[in-house]
Symmetry: C2
């Protein structure tokens, strides 16, 4: 049985970034860039007025000048300013050639068609010079950049309406169990409804995976082997149930039949001790225990972290430190991971207050009120008292 | 000109929760429940074996018993255990009537078809009793609960395959400006490409809004008025550009023509001073300045926060406290909001380290490297030094 730390390292060691693919701009939010992007032209592409006002030539300070043109945004100026004249200009419009400064309309006095200028005008004031944000050819985004809304704005501004990104993962979820029926069916006696399939589908979609499918198979060796075979083209295969050592726990043998290499089986953690991790060529295969909390935790710590790395998003989930609001029990034998709620508002000088939300059993998904993290509780005697530091990882936002 | 604090309060005061609607389970992740959900049956629905092993009647400790049945998960037991016999049982299976405890298979000795039991067996050990997670009729989810993957598991387990949720918002984004062309077009001299439309669409989708549309109109009173009229059935209307006091800034007058009530216009903040907020019946209308950073900030602070409240997700964005890694300049006249990067890993005892990422101008979206928050810099002389506390709000995750 290996430690949760070693298990995570083995998963990440086996995980490589997916190849790039081309996507249209509306479909790239949250993905990771796989090319360098350069400015296709100077930005701004012209000397741009930053205020509504008047473009003036040198020597306009303190004088009264006639307006020879109105330059609106989007409109090229047709005149060249010379001494003794000015042009009315709008924010965003290109300055006429010969412009020395732009004077805001609030600072002038209008008199019929002439304008009285203030005694002080600073050279280039209220002008964003051509190329001042960046020059044509400047690299403005790099491979590995996460495409947040600001990066999307940058791509749009240089005309990149389709772009190379790290391909998001294809994830297949296979729930097993003869006792499990679809949530839209009324369970017979001895049956329960499938909670893991909908839960894991939501968790997989939260990673920004491109494709998430869910199938359910019964506990039969042939059915499980066949399902593993049919999902060979998915980057990640997640099975739930059937990984303990029971008479109907066919997953390990089915994986061996499919020539998957089992990297580890059983981890010193609670919940999720029977966790299995295997690889088949570049495919990662996770066998999660069937109890909902064990499934949830194992997906959070191992599967989602691997998907993030595949998608270029991060090479590991940040481990944060907070302060316990309540004592939390340690176990002598295994690291305990406990759902919790981290409150990082400013009542405590910025240190997150972390409340453990322990369930009573690994099947108990009903008592955890709005958890947003997992606390990592190291092995040891007794409890960790309230007020002590505790490490935690945040759940993926939904 | 009102303060950013008053502006946010006025926006939230005008924002009410949207009415409920019914959605299928795969479409509810991240939304907010609008009904109470009760358990439709006891959970577990039967005394469930929690280990692979043997169901035994009372008095089995230290004895050797024949196996009279194999109970697999999903299968109802057909026997009633009596003294002197036991049943092999799988994790998840219902215990036969008469079961006193379940003994893990690791703790027994097998001999042909009889089983030697250990000298100590605890009553009810390894049995999850019927109804121990919850009783039929227990309320298990409440209106207002956010539907994270665990809540989705709970819904599935009680057969709620469609559910009442607070309706997610419909958001229309209207970019304006005669100088602005679509990102897929080559700008003429004096033109620039639209960066705000793709950026705001991505930001709106990150709020979990149900529908996001984007149209561009030129700076003409009729076109703007008509566009406002045609988008009356959206919950939120976001216009960019045209809100200053320039000759072509038609948005305020177009809103008045459409009988929208202007709640405020101009806020003591940088970026985004010309921000306008109006209402038309229950529709919220935001007029954002056209500079990309001002647009980004205004959407983050005001529009997204209103959408979250509409969708029942939160009544305000948490204001967090961190520690500055670099000095940040204050302004005498307006609260400054500066993009930043909060690093909340554990190097500093849990207090987030916040690095300001100031751009050079409100149009400069090219210098902000992977921001994840906005710092709020109060007015005052000079700078706030490195190491001092700073308040910040996180960007919505993408």
């Amino acid at each position: 049985m290996i430690s949760p730390k070693d298990a995570l390292r083995l998963v990440l060691d086996a995980t490589t970034e997916l190849p790039p693919e081309t996507r249209d701009l509306p479909e790239v939010a949250g993905l990771v860039l796989a090319e360098s992007v350069c400015a296709d032209m100077d930005q701004p592409p012209f000397d741009r007025a930053m205020m509504d006002g008047y473009a003036v030539p040198q020597g306009a300070a303190g004088t009264q000048l006639p307006v020879v043109e109105l330059v609106a945004a989007g409109q090229a100026s047709t005149v060249s300013l010379t001494e003794g004249e000015c042009a009315e200009i709008m924010t965003g419009a290109p300055c006429p050639s010969g412009t020395w400064a732009v004077v805001p309309k609030e600072h002038v006095h209008l008199d019929e068609n002439t304008v009285q200028f203030p005694p002080q005008i600073r050279e280039r004031q209220n002008i964003a010079p051509r190329g001042s944000d960046r020059r044509q050819g400047d690299a403005i985004l790099q491979p590995g950049d996460r495409l947040d809304p600001l990066a999307i704005a940058v791509l749009a501004s240089v005309g990149k309406t389709s772009v190379r990104v790290v391909r998001p993962a294809k994830v297949a979820i296979v729930t097993t169990g003869a006792e499990v029926v679809s949530p839209d069916r009324q369970p017979e006696p001895a049956q329960i409804r499938d909670a893991n399939g909908p839960m894991l589908s939501a968790m997989a979609r939260a990673t920004r995976a491109a494709r998430v499918v869910h199938v359910h198979v019964t506990d039969e060796m042939d059915a499980i082997t066949d399902t593993i075979a049919r999902h060979a083209d998915f980057d990640v295969l997640v099975l739930t149930g059937g990984v303990s050592a029971g008479r109907f726990d066919f997953v390990p043998d089915a994986l061996k039949k499919q020539r998957a290499e089992i990297v580890f089986h059983k981890v010193g953690q609670k919940p999720g001790k029977p966790l299995l991790f295997a690889r088949r060529e570049s495919q990662l295969i996770f066998g999660l225990p069937g109890h909902p909390l064990a499934t949830h935790f194992s997906f959070h710590r191992y599967v989602a972290t691997a998907i993030h790395k595949m998608q270029g998003q991060a090479a590991g989930r940040p481990v944060l430190t907070g302060r316990l609001t309540k004592p939390v029990k340690r176990r002598k034998d295994r690291t305990a991971f406990v759902l919790g709620r981290a409150d990082d508002r400013n009542d405590s000088g910025g240190i997150p207050q972390v409340e453990p939300l322990p369930g009573r059993s690994t099947a108990d998904i009903f008592r955890a009120v709005a958890p947003n993290c997992y606390l990592e509780v190291p092995t040891g005697p007794d409890s960790i008292p309230a007020g002590d530091p505790i490490q935690f990882t945040r759940l993926d936002p939904i």
